[in-house]
Amino acid sequence: MRLLSTLLLTAVAAPALAATPEEVTTHYADLALAGYQDSLTTAQALQRAVAALIATPSDETLAAAKTAWLAARVPYQQTEAFRFGNPIVDDWEGRVNAWPLDEGLIDYVSAGYGNEENQLATLNVVATPTFTLSGNEIDATAITPALIAETLHEADGIEANVASGYHAIEFLLWGQDLNGTEPGAGARPFTDFATGDACTGGNCDRRAAYLQAATDLLVADLTEMVDNWDTDGPARAAVTTDPQAGLLAMLTGMGSLSYGELAGERTKLGLMLNDPEEEHDCFSDNTHNSHFYDGLGIRNVYLGSYTRTDGSVLAGPSLADLVAAAEPGVHTQLKAELDASVAALQALKDAGDSGRTFDTLIAPGNAEGEALIMAAVNALVTQTASIDRAVTALGLSKVDFEGSDSLDSPEAVFQ
């Protein structure tokens, strides 16, 4: 495996041996499959750790479950580059990584918590076995994956009602981070999962049931996505059947994640709001890692290379090969800019690893934090312009891809 990777990496470095769009999109689908497989295996490890926590609540089993959650984020965040541009992924994504959430829907929160736009922001399903939702009586005496997915998630059509996925699990493991923009993450005690008189926070059995069900649901959702990228999977077909459409999806994934999502929604907006709840992993204070692996995932797609959780490297024909052959100047600039954004995100990661987590960096008046954050934002925005240039260099057309039905028959859009 290592030898093969080395050979392939050598090929990447020599764009004269230009890959074909067919080879590049097939390899891209292989990268996605590997990324979701790694996400699934790390989620299964989380599932085992959660079962151990519930069976024997202790500081140690809670810490082990948190460690498993953090490990599961590493491969998953690198798959986010596969999301935009492929509706099969994007339509599914809200189940596993929706954010930000009104966590009071799920469990107890501090006094004064609320959201004027969301009447369910303080529902607290853990403490409420039956309740009324949109006029319907809901029986939540058994907390199951189906209840979470079909009844609670996005209840009332409100997107802040996030009942499933990584962040719901994160909240149940860490609890609310009540430190504001000061250091420190959520500090849920393991006794929130204890039985009998040792139980804190009330309804420990229901909290444990919710955590187990949400984790089981995550594993099921990731299994579905692995299947989607397998040999005959629809997500694979969506990018390989028409390689030109596949290349467009690849660059769309890179560009939309770089700019609107990671630079904008998840980073700059948090800074502009100075609100620690506006950080992606707000309970665990793991945002610096989530952002770093997002950025790495964007570069992975371009370079056609992914380092798996077991340390092996999957490398092959890449977008970089195609862009370098089509327009070397665009390739050189984009590659340098991708390296620069990964470096800027690495600086954020280093700060977080040394205790200066994202929520402390966005404190009002933290000039050093603002500089670190804006360096990452600017690097991501800068590379987006070159991703646009790569689209043009490869002669890809979103307009053509959408079709021109609306011009030929304006009424078609009303169908």
Partner: protein, 342 residues
């Protein structure tokens, strides 16, 4: 999870554009010198947008915000007309998510909306009861508490405010006026960058088409924002319409904001390429439909709800028509935009 249409850019046949010598002077001496020295002139479509759409739009907003800030006292009845004038003016340029409006989070601070987590009310409550604010201090605070949405909560409160809002109203209006001035100031050099796209030394827009693409992208994105957010949020579901989630609802601006946004994007279309009959017709259809809905609150009734849904379809049709008609005509593809993502 919040969906956004993805967009990408295309190949395209470069369009030959007439020179724009005569217009470059508006960019100031540097731009003039650049334009005189350098080869490729800006495309006519770009210069019309810069000089007849964006710059005058920001100028008008700056003036309206300054007028609002100079009003003495805090009587809501006195302030509301100037507040609406400033809001109206912002609607003419709110769709331009590039350059100075993106810098320092200005467009977020001028109109933070939507606010699905209710952060504005929360942050503003802290400011209301805290120490009095200078405009400088205001600029450091959460964008959710500032700008037009912040003023709307103070001028159209839904309950009793926890403290005298007067100092905060003044600080918010001053902050708004300051940002208006900065936008006007910074659009001179930024406009020059658009006008000198592709010329040596311009590292932002490496080819003339890149400037055109940036503006064309604002058009499509702006229409998506109207359909998905300005209309989509109040429309919600047939069973549970949410007129209260409309932009500017407390100030009674729900439909007005939609209509003004459509008109502003129609103007952008006309400046980008006056020869866009299908797109302009699609805009006219949507604007007529919007005018036919008197109040956003009418969507509480099934018939009113359906009217708004038809408008949403018309706006999406205008977006698709614009992409299909203007893209090839301008020789550019859609680019990525700051509204992509959730």
């Amino acid at each position: 999870m919040r969906n956004a249409h993805q967009m990408i850019a295309p190949p395209a046949i470069p369009r030959l554009s007439p020179p724009a010598w005569g217009r470059a002077g508006a960019g100031g001496p540097v731009a003039l010198a650049l334009t005189l020295l350098l080869a490729a002139p800006a495309a006519a479509d770009t210069s019309a947008v810069v000089q007849d759409h964006a710059r005058p739009g920001y100028d008008a907003f700056a003036k309206a915000a300054a007028t609002l800030a100079t009003i003495d006292g805090c009587n809501p009845d006195t302030l509301r007309p100037a507040f609406h004038a400033a809001y109206d003016a912002w609607m003419q340029v709110a769709h331009l998510h590039l350059g100075p409006a993106e810098a320092e989070g200005r467009s977020l601070a001028i109109l933070y909306w939507p606010d699905p987590k209710g952060l504005g009310a929360k942050a503003q409550a802290a400011l209301l009861t805290g120490t009095p604010l200078t405009p400088e201090a205001m600029a450091q605070h959460s964008v959710a508490a500032r700008g037009l949405s912040g003023l709307e909560r103070l001028l159209y409160p839904t309950g009793t405010l926890p403290a005298d809002p007067c100092p905060l109203i003044q600080a918010t209006a001053d902050d708004l006026a300051r940002m208006g001035d900065e936008l006007t100031r910074d659009w001179l050099p930024f406009g020059d960058l658009l006008l000198t796209a592709g010329q040596p030394g311009n590292e932002k827009f490496l080819k003339p088409e890149e400037a055109t693409q940036a503006l064309f992208t604002q058009l499509a994105t702006g229409l998506e924002f109207i359909a998905d957010r300005q209309i989509g949020r109040p429309l919600a579901t047939f069973d549970k319409p949410r007129p209260d989630l409309a932009q500017g609802h407390a100030a009674g601006r729900g439909m007005q904001n939609i209509t003004l946004s459509l008109q502003a994007l129609r103007d952008l279309t006309q400046k980008l390429n006056p020869d866009s009959p299908k797109t302009l017709a699609a805009f006219d259809r949507a604007i007529t439909l919007a005018r036919g809905i008197e109040s956003i609150d009418s969507i509480a009734d099934p018939q009113g709800w359906l009217k708004l849904e038809i408008l949403q379809q018309a706006v999406r049709a205008a977006r698709d028509t614009a992409v299909a008609e203007l893209g090839p005509a301008l020789g550019v593809e859609l680019g990525f935009n700051s509204q992509d993502g959730d």
